[in-house]
């Protein structure tokens, strides 16, 4: 089993999305809700490819909506 530790504490909020090459993981630090990011990993090697910290507006939308991504595109549909 190929494994990689990607965070230390349990995430407060987490989603995963994959395509043929990459995995995108959206996670909020359970100890600091201001730290939310989307990190991309190579699907075969599990190596980290890139990471995007989310700004306040996007983060707020995430909490209020549905996160949907095919890795290449991220869309958010607000619940209300």
């Amino acid at each position: 089993m190929k494994q990689r530790k990607i965070f230390d504490s349990q995430s407060g909020f987490m989603e995963i999305a994959t395509n043929t090459d990459k995995i995108a993981i959206l996670a909020t630090d359970a100890n600091d809700i201001n730290k939310t990011s989307i990190t991309f990993y190579d699907k075969k090697t599990l190596e980290k490819v890139s990471s995007i910290p989310l700004d306040g507006k996007l983060k707020d939308a995430l909490w209020r909506g549905y996160w949907n991504t095919n890795v290449n595109h991220i869309s958010i549909k607000p619940r209300y």
């Binding site: 190929k2 530790k5 995963i16 395509n19 995995i23 993981i25 699907k43």
Partner: protein
């Protein structure tokens, strides 16, 4: 004609019930819990609550004809309960192989909480061409089975195929890639 995107396909099928010395033929409507298109055929899983939660695997038909043919059932031991872990009612099919994950609970009457002792997470391959079904336990890095106490694993329909599954354990923070045939890399 088989519907393109069935979510709750209901099929009337004939069943034989035996009571004492008498066998009665009955029709019953079976809502499939999961329906997957593989090649030009449809396959379905239907759950049973009669004793323990169990799943029956059936070939439903082809693009031209609806028929049902029993193929397998999951052999769940007594006092166990099994649930298919899926995001939608259409299980992944790739290279004629339907893949899915189950969470099997081993019940214990002596357990103080809710009677559930342990939960084992398994990865299953249903080879529709050879009518075979095989499952492997998803293991942690230390070789132990991934259990419910370690939190749920997150994956989506694109992270599981006929060769491997990629998932993240939200409790341990570990991203894993597991080979479908052995449960290991």
């Amino acid at each position: 004609m088989v519907p393109n995107s069935p979510t709750k396909l209901v099929i009337d099928r004939t069943v034989l019930r035996t009571t004492g010395h008498q066998t009665v033929q009955e029709f019953e409507s079976t809502p499939f819990d999961f329906v997957s298109r593989c090649g030009n055929s449809l396959y379905g899983l239907v759950s049973s609550y009669s004793d323990n939660r169990n799943y029956f695997f059936q070939k439903i038909g082809t693009n031209d004809k609806l028929t049902t043919r029993f193929i397998h059932s999951l052999n769940v031991e007594s006092h166990n309960d099994i649930l298919i872990d899926a995001y939608s009612q259409s299980l992944n099919c790739s290279n004629d192989i339907i893949t899915f994950i189950t969470r099997e609970s081993i019940r214990s009457d002596t357990d103080e909480e809710d009677g559930i002792k342990t939960v084992t997470t398994k990865l299953w391959k249903w080879d529709t061409q050879h009518d075979s079904l095989s499952g492997v336990s998803i293991m942690n890095g230390d070789g132990t089975s991934l259990s419910d106490g370690e939190g749920f694993i997150l994956y989506d329909e694109n992270s599981i195929d006929s060769n491997s599954i990629v998932f993240v354990n939200s409790y341990s923070g570990i991203l894993s890639r597991v080979d479908m045939s052995s449960g290991k890399s």
